[in-house]
């Protein structure tokens, strides 16, 4: 797919079109339900005619009443059927959308997903849910609300065109009022969305900081920003209602008070002798309520309008083009070499200026290279460029002499393993979290990896061994255990290139030694690129690249850099100075 993403409306239309049978049958049932809804009014009119007859037939009157009941029940069943179909359609569309969105996630450059979990969850869950609700609940209403007045108008026009016009006389007033009431709706929706987002962000921060707040004896209401953010919604509701209350009430009343015109006009015509009693009754019952169903249409449009921003977000995610797919691997079936070279690489996020400037250096296959530098120097960014979270703006990253952009994604994936500081595990068992990384899923193989990272003792202690659930995101494991599990996973994957993104800095130093041993097992025989905070850790690396403000300040071994790189020397001095500090010196 190329070009701009679809608009919300366009996506919505496409979604409906994708289920033509359900759409048409739901609409057909809703239309029939509208016809059935019309029947009681016509029957009241017939009844009026019957009682005006010189000698009313009681059997006929009862028959008409029974017919009313039948029509009403028919309407219930038809409308219920329409609703069932619209729900079926909505649930199916919801599922298909979510499946498509989960697949769309896989097409995004990984960098584009980082730090956007909240937004993406909103799109995948809330925005799609909004569309589901819209289709399920408003579709039959909108169809019936549109068909009913149309049918009634035709019927009334046939009976008496003057009275039919009288029944419609207030519609223009209603439409003008509606235009007033709903003007600036998009602005209001945007304001509302912003206020809602702000209130939610404040509440999330509050819940995140609940321990801190308890310790300071502060409650939600004592936090000015939070209190204001939550009350801002009420304030906005108030000001919106104040502005729109009169036109909105006018619109509402004008649609449902046709009697105002129908009654006097009908009377005048009746007195003039050109409208008989039965027709008068018909207009009093049907004409008076002619335009009221349009309210349902308006509600439906309101609901549609509210969902369009969400739909646009869904479309934006669905329609973003894939990362360029790359060519087939140069030599099918075999791996390329495991050396990495950065060639005049520059990179910046989005529209922002470059954060990496013209970086060039080479990491020979099987050697260890470290990226060091002050925070914000671009170390993690460089690592991400190797794993192709992003593509460089200028220059290229080569693996085994091949531009990573020219490699098939599967080939690159098999070539590179990344261990992050905060590895992710899904809510499942230890085994489930490990087997995905390898084709060889035997317990022996898994246990070998578990043993290599020093976790076999833990597994032996667990009630169900490898089949013990590890909780949401591995919550039942300690930080050090999670880290080692991530290393076991990388061992199982057995990729020739290993990227360690601050994998040696973590929350509990108690298990640091164990993690270090595990890393020691993992680095054997691989090309390693490691981002390090503590310089001492990487002082024996084959290559150390010093980054400052996105530029290389030096490349080489520790001793060389101590001599040649001012940045490296400063970092080294600062760290050796603070090492032996103790509280209360």
């Amino acid at each position: 797919m190329n070009g701009a993403p679809r608009t919300g409306r366009r996506l919505f239309a496409d979604l409906l079109r994708a289920e033509p049978r359900l759409l048409l049958s739901a609409a057909a049932l809703a239309t029939l339900a509208a016809v059935a809804e019309l029947a009681p009014y016509v029957l009241v009119h017939r009844m009026a005619g019957a009682v005006m007859a010189p000698d009313p037939d009681p059997g006929h009157l009862v028959w008409l009443a029974v017919l009313m009941l039948v029509a009403a029940i028919l309407r219930l069943l038809l409308f219920g059927g329409a609703n069932i179909l619209s729900h079926r359609m909505a649930f199916r569309i919801q599922k298909n959308l979510q499946v498509a969105l989960v697949r769309a996630l896989e097409r995004q450059p990984l960098g584009a997903l980082e730090g956007r979990a909240g937004d993406l969850k909103k799109t995948l869950v809330d925005d799609v849910g909004g569309l589901e609700h819209l289709i399920a609940h408003t579709l039959p209403d909108a169809v019936a609300g549109l068909v009913l007045p149309l049918l009634a108008a035709v019927l009334l026009l046939v009976v008496d065109w003057r009275m039919a016009l009288a029944s419609l006389a207030l519609l223009p007033v209603a439409l003008v009022a509606q235009k007033r009431a709903f003007s600036g709706l998009e602005v209001i929706h945007a304001q509302w969305h912003a206020a809602d987002t702000a209130a939610n962000a404040s509440l999330l921060a509050y819940i995140r900081g609940i321990a801190t707040l308890k310790a300071h004896h502060r409650v939600a209401r004592s936090l000015g920003t939070l209190r204001q953010a939550v009350h801002a919604l009420a304030g906005l509701a108030d000001s919106i209602t104040r502005r729109t209350a009169i036109p909105y009430a006018l619109f509402f009343v004008m649609l449902s008070t046709n009697l105002l015109v129908v009654l006097p006009v009908g009377l005048v015509l009746h007195v003039a002798g050109s409208l008989d009693v039965a027709a008068f009754v018909l207009f009093v019952v049907l004409g008076a309520g002619l335009t009221a169903p349009l309210l349902r249409v308006m509600y439906a449009f309101g609901a549609l309008e509210r969902q369009m921003q969400g739909a646009a977000r869904v479309a934006a995610l669905l329609d973003t083009p894939a990362v360029s797919p790359g060519r087939q691997p140069p030599i099918a079936g075999t791996r390329v070499g495991a050396d990495i070279s950065f060639e005049h690489v520059s990179f910046g996020y989005g529209e922002r200026p470059d954060v990496v400037h013209d970086v060039s250096f080479t990491i020979p296959a099987g050697s260890i290279a470290a990226l060091v530098g002050p925070s914000g120097a671009g170390k993690s960014t460089l690592v991400r460029l190797v794993a192709r979270f992003w593509d460089p703006r200028a220059g290229a990253v080569h693996i085994g002499g091949v531009d990573v952009r020219a490699m098939a994604p599967e080939c690159l994936r098999d070539q590179v393993a990344v261990v992050f500081q905060d590895p992710f595990f899904f809510n499942g068992t230890l085994r489930e979290n490990l087997v995905i990384a390898t084709a060889d899923t035997t317990t022996a193989t898994l246990m070998q990896a578990v043993d290599a990272v020093g976790l076999s003792g833990l597994v032996a202690q667990l009630p169900q061994g490898l089949d013990t659930p590890i909780g949401d995101r591995g919550a039942r494991l300690s930080g050090g255990e999670r880290q080692r599990l991530a290393i076991a996973r990388a061992l199982l994957k057995d990729a020739p290139i290993l990227l360690l993104d601050e994998a040696t800095a973590f929350a509990d130093p108690e298990s640091e030694r164990a993690v270090q041993r595990a890393i020691g097992r993992l680095t054997v025989g691989r090309t390693v690129l490691v981002v390090a905070h503590r310089l001492a850790t990487v002082m024996q690396a084959d290559t150390i690249a010093v980054l400052a403000d996105g530029r290389l300040d030096g490349v080489g071994r520790h001793e060389i850099l101590l001599r040649d790189s001012p940045v490296y020397r400063r970092l080294w001095d600062a760290q050796t100075g603070s090492r032996d500090w103790a509280l209360r010196t």
Partner: protein, 580 residues
């Protein structure tokens, strides 16, 4: 409760709710005027005595009634929306306030996410449903009553017959809710699982993409989506029989009334005009009852959420003492303190005894998950002890009011949380009334003044909910400034080691040294070399103190846990990454 808007959660009476209610009722009354006028007209028409004067009268009455209705509806809308949104906002804040009084045990990682979703996304949904349904249901409940009055005047028997079916129909509402809650409980669980799976798919994409080559996870999620589609359909269909019965009984009522009226006309008891009127009024009567039923059914979207909010609001807060105690000094004593986590998660604590004299520093060390942080948190009463007691200056912490305890104990946690507001607001967290110069003094002592002044608006720079634009080390120093400003005699320090950018380490160390001077300090230490000068070190393993003493004492025990931890950390510090 069948009809539950949850307005009581706000914890205050809102007289304007009644005003909105009264306006809605008045609007419903005015809405019946056209039917009265219609009665006059139809009776005249059927009697053949309609004239133009009547037409003029009808036009006048209806115009006035319509104008009045517009005004009343507008006023009712303003009252209802402004009031209900205000009440609901207060309810949200009241529940949020309540959270801060609960023991921290409520906030397990899994529950924290659920609570967060409950107070944000799900609350918005609840809010929109109840605020809209409130105004509508008021009108739709009042209108049938007035219309029924019109029916009563027209014909008592038919009116009684029409009314008889309404209570029968409304029996179906609790029935439908019963059917619904049974079905929606399972679907709600499935929805939670599904959302969790989708979020996993998003947050785990970095790792899944490099490991899950067979797309196993995605296929599982797709299967889950498929199952959810079916479950949703089943839940949607569940209340259908009851809703159909509701509508059917109402329609039956209308038909019976119509038949009775028709029979009445044939028997000559009821005038033809009255028959038509009865039918016209009855049609509207049943439609508004139908709408009321639908309005109330609409509440089902908020029901599950409201039930969860109520459960949260009903959780027991930590009890507050009736009389506030006064600690004599800043000594802390632990007397056979035991504590267990709900559900048996985590190690808990077993019979901890110990005394920290005022002004002394005790370090808690031990493997991760040993319970050392838990013990520190008990001092600040984030939880209550299971048995035994913790006293500060001779007073049980449970006998201190939350305010006194907060004034006595300052806590600096590993995970620094900043709140929206200015830098100064954040430093003032524990002393909201502190003057500007005190804030600056604390910031200077915390080595934070310089970077704060480098911010675009200095102390007035607003921070976002994520604490931006500050770095990890800078946030740490804000937290230290906070504690310094609060100036509590006892300091609980969860020594922060991760997330510190190494350049800032020296600054933070200097700030911490200032903070710990002249206070009673309980420090949870991860990096052992930082607490070698503590007055005492308590080594905790699996919830028990297994060793205590000074650094030198403990190091001298060759097979002790402290020695093992120390050796491992010393080795870790000298570790070098090499290719095998």
């Amino acid at each position: 409760m069948i009809v539950d808007f949850g307005f009581d959660l706000a914890g205050r009476r809102e007289p304007r709710l009644w005003r909105g209610l009264a306006l809605g009722v008045a609007a419903a009354l005015v809405e019946t005027i056209p039917y009265v006028e219609l009665a006059r007209v139809l009776i005249a028409v059927f009697a053949g005595r309609a004239d133009v004067a009547l037409a003029v009268e009808a036009a006048l009455v209806l115009t006035v009634a319509t104008m009045l209705l517009v005004v009343l509806k507008a006023r009712a809308n303003i009252e209802n929306f402004a009031t209900t949104y205000g009440v609901v906002a207060d309810a949200r804040l009241a529940v949020a306030d309540h959270l801060s009084r609960l023991p921290m045990g409520v906030f397990t990682q899994a529950r924290r996410a659920i609570i967060a979703e409950l107070l944000t996304g799900r609350f918005s949904l609840y809010q929109d449903v109840v605020t809209h349904v409130w105004g509508l249901s008021v009108v739709n409940a009042a209108l049938p009553v007035f219309l029924w009055g019109v029916l009563l005047v027209l014909d008592v028997r038919v009116a009684l017959m029409a009314a008889a079916f309404v209570p029968i129909a409304f029996i179906a509402i609790p029935w439908s809710l019963r059917l619904l809650s049974r079905a929606s409980a399972t679907v709600a669980d499935q929805r939670d699982d599904l959302v969790a799976a989708l979020v996993d798919q998003i947050e785990g994409s970095r790792d899944l993409r490099q490991y899950d080559r067979g797309n196993h996870r995605r296929l599982l999620v797709e299967a889950q989506l498929q199952r959810f589609e079916q479950a949703q359909m089943r839940a949607e269909l569940a209340p259908a029989p009851a809703l159909l019965a509701f509508a059917f009984v109402l329609q039956l009522g209308f038909a019976v009334a119509a038949i009775a009226a028709a029979v009445g006309v044939s028997g000559g008891d009821i005038a033809p005009a009255v028959l038509v009127l009865l039918l016209v009024v009855a049609l509207r009567f049943y439609r508004s009852i139908m709408d009321l039923g639908l309005n109330l059914a609409e509440l089902r979207f908020a029901r599950e959420t409201l039930a969860r909010i109520r459960r949260l609001a009903a959780e027991t807060p930590l009890p507050e003492p009736v009389v506030d105690g006064t600690p004599t000094d800043a000594a802390i004593a632990f007397k056979t303190v035991s504590f267990a986590y709900e559900g048996g998660d985590g190690a808990g604590l077993h019979e901890i005894d110990g005394y920290i004299p005022a002004g002394a520093m005790v370090a808690l060390v031990g493997p991760s998950g040993s319970g050392k942080s838990t013990l520190a948190h008990l001092v600040a009463r984030l939880w209550d002890v299971g048995s035994g007691s913790i006293t500060i200056g001779g007073v049980d912490v449970r006998a201190l009011s939350a305010e006194t305890l907060a004034r006595t104990v300052a806590m600096v946690l590993q995970d620094v949380v900043l709140f929206e507001g200015t830098v100064a607001d954040n430093i003032r967290l524990g002393r909201p009334d502190a003057p500007d110069d005190a804030v600056e003094q604390a910031a200077r002592a915390a080595r934070a003044h310089d970077f704060i002044m480098a911010l675009p608006q200095g102390y007035a720079t607003p921070l976002d909910a994520e604490g931006g634009p500050l770095s990890g080390g800078e946030r740490q120093r804000i937290a230290i400034a906070r504690a310094l400003l609060k100036d509590a005699p006892i300091l609980v320090l969860d020594e922060a080691t991760a997330n510190i950018d190494t350049e800032n380490e020296a600054e933070i160390q200097a700030a911490l040294s200032t903070l710990t001077a002249d206070r009673t300090v309980l420090v949870v230490a991860h990096r052992l070399w930082t607490i070698t000068r503590a007055d005492a070190i308590w080594v905790i393993d699996q919830g028990r103190i297994v060793q205590r003493g000074s650094h030198q004492d403990l190091l001298a025990v060759p097979d002790g846990l402290y020695r093992r931890l120390w050796d491992a950390q010393m080795q870790a510090r000298t570790w070098r990454i090499t290719s095998g």
